[in-house]
Subunit: 724 residues, 2 copies
């Protein structure tokens, strides 16, 4: 059964709603849902459905959805899990677009629940219906006052919330409720993602005029690859901010028992989110503030932040918080400094951070004058105003509140005029003073915490960069992955077969010859200058070193004897192994060792990894990930993600590495895996990198089933050679 | 002039205060200070001082402090900087204990200001007076309503605040003001620390019954070593929490312009704070919450945290936040799980995190029942309750507020009964609901942010561990450092001299011989098994490799020729160098390379550093610091601070390192530097570590002036040998 055409507009913005499981009992969800819709002011038609009631709160009750004598767009199903299939079955004769299934007891509870979940999805699809949930707290269209959750009134605003935990949603609503001018356009509790998935909501929110940004709380995704694809199309226009939980092992345990879906590895998730232009947040207390900043403010052109503080402590702490997040706090130009000196007292610091040193104590209009001077500075991409703004009326004298309200409005005008964002941090944010409401109305975010302010600025810079460079990635298209790649048995290619396959696709492999006799080994070694590396070739021996099957730095005179020793050791290690010979390669030295690998992530499909080899991978886990396929920009960004990347640039007497060659290699690996979709795993370790280029010194490939590589080179060659 | 005996009680808890610079002008600080004291309800005597006024707000005005006909404990001096020396001069005939100098224009402004600062300190000391400031917003004794700052009323509580920024103090007061039951006992704006320094307040706060914890905001310390000493004595009883700013380069620029003192390196500060039992906080938005938790709660016995959440999202995020901070979220015992199953619905998760899955929606008493079961679990050292507690009355039904108030009180009783802390995170904290006030009154901290809650739990665990182990460190005493070590020219010892000195103190140095002829080199090499390392010995050549003065893996037959080559290369490199010969040592292999060094930190004096050698130090900066002298526990903790410490334990085919031997080496180095206080810098790089022990392979020592090492070995030997 294929997925029916989805009318997401009718699901998220329905003109009529059926409440299936409507109840006359005031304590039941099926009653409260109607109360919430009526009292909330929903304009559409409400159709209670219950076979044994006639009227609820003045509304006619229907025995079934199909008995409703009008078009129904959406059903809220609050019946127990077991009844859901029957309810959906009944909807076949209607033109229902979607249903929200609230009940628990599906995929999150084990095998029986999984079956029931499959049943409701297939039944729904048969009837042309798409499902939200199950195991969801519901859905809210805030602007149309369609609240199918029954929570307090949700503050109205520009954030669309896709959330995999009802309580997190309540937290986020509550956090916004104490702040003027921060709020939501939609809430969708995606629940178990049995049918409608995270990515399917994104185009709707992107097109929705009420939505300025999409906020995602994700425990585990059932189709991460499509999410990346959809996000990549949306983020050039609409920011997406994601908090991914289940990052720890214990966290995973809990996520699993909660949503029934496996939580992914945060290293992969953060990287692929970045690649798709999604802004990752790793603290729940930063999610709303960061999202609100991205929803409000103009795009940022660069990483240079000016700090305007009304105290040295805030100035210093702000500089710490920004630079620790990789932002730049550059000196202001002489012209700006001169302008600030005119405005501020002698004790002020005008370098950056700017410390007004009491200059605003008696006139907060001075903040506007300083901001104006700073925003005119070509070096400044964003301004962080830190300290007590908005609290002067509380702290010093009541009449200052009016001055601050005035100043707040003018700051808003400056943002519009200069198209440069201002973020305000104020110790008085908890008081929710009037000047802060004015700031927020003027789309200037205000937060209490300096660290959260810095995180917001950082997100603005990150997202600004993505918007500037997103065009370059517009041809990005994630390939369909065959289902076979994520299951089924795999075949390990021998190093020889793997290298032949890579070489056939013009990937840079160290020269190699397969020798099947001591004499062939000697001839091969003679053809290479200097000493050689010799490695046993057998599809049955994966860990060649463990088998005594590797000899390095073999001198020309010792090649034949070494050949015999390797064969003997490998045969002793595994008497049944099919030994095809010995691979002979020239020794390479004075290179930086890299590892390049491709693995199939359970949420995001094939991802490529790069890192410095050895201890950097195994002990420090200093690696970078991206989803396939890679753009050149992606590959370059991967290298910049490596903590010890200084080692690529000649640190500690290492050769300076040709980064372009590494980038080429990563892109070639991407193409190679794209064109050979039955590759289950690929490991190039080590890759030697120098200023001259890169060389794959060892390679390991495993494939799904018995499949061959593209054009069959790998397997054919393997076959040919082993037939010899 | 020596520092006068300090009566810190009379300074921080004065019975009488003179306001020097008192004014009839209502807009002046010298007037407002009197208003604040009178209206705040200060019980002591207030003596305005102004030569040209008779009466201010009903108080008799005196022309000078010495004209006051009664004992005065403390003076608040609000005159301009230039007049301060004269004011202090006049106080000589009084019994004044201290003065708060508010004026700016001292050390923070440059050379002239520094001179003036020195002048006021020496004048004060001549008169037996100690100074707070200058460049301070003042001092507050909250419980005695002595407010010398003129800020809003500061909420009363158990936190003593030592703060180097007036605006940070306002931020922290404001943050507390929006939360019931969080507040301060004292505030001291330490300002430029010209006289009274951070450490001098600590014993007073430790003894003060109103103070439960000391909170420090530090930009730069003028006597960090004494602070560590004092903190070490205080922290076993009273927690100290510190936020150190100026961590970034830009931050340093601002800190410098603000307080005139240099901000230190955060790596060093964090480490030496930990060593002294101080809890470091690196986000300003965590300082108050963490401090409040430490002030309120009983000591924690271990790192095992139980999570009780009313939603899967909070459960998962809490687990993430705790495990990312290195805490443990272990499974509960079967008995606890059984007990929880009795209480909670079937859908609940009872493993840990515990997710009540709706079990508290209609009865919040269930939180108490769950908490009781969890606190009875022997595996649980601390409980984090996360979600909506305190908000059920807001979210669901008003009558729940009473239930939550009740539950809050019972949770408080559980903490007392089990002596196990509970930390509460609630999305409704911003509403400041009544149940939260009850929790706080019961000494259970409540915060809005899950991450801040996790940081609080982490701080409780860190501090709990310190209290348990602090006794083992009670003999810790920091030595007085001679002033000469931080200035003056230094002399570099040759490697030979350095090694002789180390060997003389029984430090494990690789065997070595100084050869002054090729024949001596040959004889030395013959005495060692296998090939040797040969290095030029010259006090004038520090970078031996650059001079071509190092040969490794020299075969016995090549030693004489190599000797000549090394001498030739070194002479060519520096024709004027005094070349003493060539050091011959056996080659060592298959060891883990370490670096051990001692540097003189400008704030904290001599600190020892250890790290894995090479790239780990130079690129990854993966090192650990501690102040000297080290205890064995300190040394062991250093190794645990190294990120890549896995490499000490046999990772990646490395030899497993004898950690005890490394600990011994670090302690020996500590003793060596203690006993030779004119060592300016010491560098043991590399040290080879194996399962057999450690060996110092290369050593470099520089000394202050021409001084010799203890007993003169180093220099004497150097002298003897070069006389040969």
């Amino acid at each position: 059964m294929s997925t029916p055409t989805t009318d997401i507009d009718r699901i998220l913005s329905p003109d009529s709603v059926a409440i299936v499981g409507a109840s006359t009992d005031k304590t039941k969800r099926g009653h409260q849902a109607i109360v919430t819709l009526q009292e909330g002011g929903y304009d559409g038609n409400i159709y209670p459905v219950n076979p044994s009631a006639d009227e609820i709160r003045g509304l006619e009750v229907y025995p079934t959805v199909s008995a409703i004598p009008a078009q129904v767009d959406l059903a809220l199903i609050v019946t127990p899990a077991q009844i859901v299939p029957q309810v959906l079955e009944d909807c076949g004769e209607t033109d229902l677009a979607g249903a929200v299934v609230v009940a628990v007891g599906f995929g999150e509870t084990g095998t029986d629940g999984e079956k029931l979940e499959e049943e409701i999805v297939s039944t729904a699809h048969e009837q042309g219906i798409r499902l939200i949930g199950p195991n969801t707290s519901g859905m809210i269209n805030v602007h149309e006052r369609l609240n199918l959750v029954g929570t307090d009134t949700v503050p109205e605003g520009g954030l669309a919330l896709l959330c995999q935990s009802g309580n997190m949603a309540i937290s986020l609503f509550t956090e916004a409720a104490t702040r003027d001018e921060v709020g939501y356009s939609y809430y969708v509790g995606v629940g178990n993602e049995a049918d409608l998935k995270f990515h399917e909501y994104l185009p709707f929110f992107d097109a929705d005029p009420e939505t300025d940004a999409v906020v995602c709380y994700i425990e585990g995704m059932s189709d991460g690859r499509s999410f990346l694809q959809a996000a990549r199309e949306v983020t050039p226009e609409t920011p997406i901010i994601a908090l991914k939980s289940g990052r720890s092992d214990v966290g995973k345990r809990s996520a699993s028992s909660h949503t029934g879906s496996l939580a992914g590895d945060s290293a992969v998730a953060d990287a692929v989110f970045e690649q798709a232009g999604i802004v990752s947040v790793d603290r729940s207390d930063e999610l709303l503030a960061v999202s609100n900043s991205l929803a409000s403010l103009p795009a940022v052109d660069g990483p240079n932040v000016a700090i305007l503080a009304d105290g040295g402590g805030h100035a210093t702490l702000a500089a710490d918080a920004l630079t620790e997040r990789g932002l730049s706090v550059p000196p202001l130009t002489d012209a700006t400094k001169d302008a600030l000196r005119e405005i501020l007292p002698d004790a002020a610091s005008v370098v950056n951070p700017v410390d007004v040193a009491g200059g605003t104590d008696e006139d907060q209009q001075v903040f506007v004058e300083c901001a104006e001077a700073i925003l005119a500075d070509q070096n400044v991409d964003v301004l962080l105003l830190s300290g007590l703004f908005g609290g002067y009326g509380i702290r010093f004298a009541e009449q200052y509140t009016e001055v601050e309200i005035d100043a707040a409005a003018q700051l808003g005008e400056l943002v519009t005029e200069h198209e440069t964002p201002i973020v305000v941090q104020s110790a008085y944010e908890g008081f929710n003073p009037e000047p802060h409401a004015v700031l927020r109305e003027a789309e200037i975010p205000v937060v209490e915490s300096l660290d959260v302010a810095a995180a917001s600025v950082s997100a603005l810079v990150t997202y600004g960069k993505h918007r500037r460079t997103a065009d370059a990635k517009s041809d990005f298209e994630l390939p369909e992955r065959p289902a076979t790649t994520t299951s089924g048995r795999t075949t390990q290619l021998s190093e020889f077969a793997a290298k032949r396959a890579l070489e056939a696709e013009s990937l840079p492999v160290t020269p190699f010859e397969l020798a099947t006799t001591p004499e062939e080994a000697h001839d091969a070694a003679s053809a290479f200058d200097g000493s050689v590396a010799m490695k046993i070739v057998s599809p049955d021996i994966v860990h060649k070193s463990d088998a005594g099957g590797v000899a390095l730095n073999v001198d020309g005179t010792a090649v034949e004897q070494t050949y015999n020793e390797l064969i003997k050791a490998a045969s002793a290690y595994d008497p049944d192994a099919n030994i095809e010979g010995v691979l002979v390669s020239p020794m390479r030295e004075d290179a930086v060792e890299l590892i390049v690998g491709v693995v199939d992530d359970e949420q995001f499909g094939p991802v490529v990894m790069v890192g410095l080899g050895g201890v950097f991978v195994e002990v420090l886990e200093d690696v970078a990930f991206r989803a396939l396929p890679l753009t050149e920009a992606d590959a370059r960004a991967m290298l910049n993600d490596i903590d010890a990347q200084e080692l690529l640039d000649g640190a500690r007497g290492n050769p300076s590495v040709d980064r372009d060659a590494v980038v080429d290699l990563l892109c070639s690996v991407s193409t190679f895996v794209e064109e050979n979709q039955n590759i289950a795993e690929l490991d190039l370790n080590p890759v030697f990198a120098t200023s001259e280029g890169v060389e794959i010194v060892d390679a390991s490939i495993s494939m799904v089933g018995e499949s061959t590589l593209a054009h069959g080179e790998g397997a054919e060659i393997l076959q040919e050679e082993s037939d010899d």
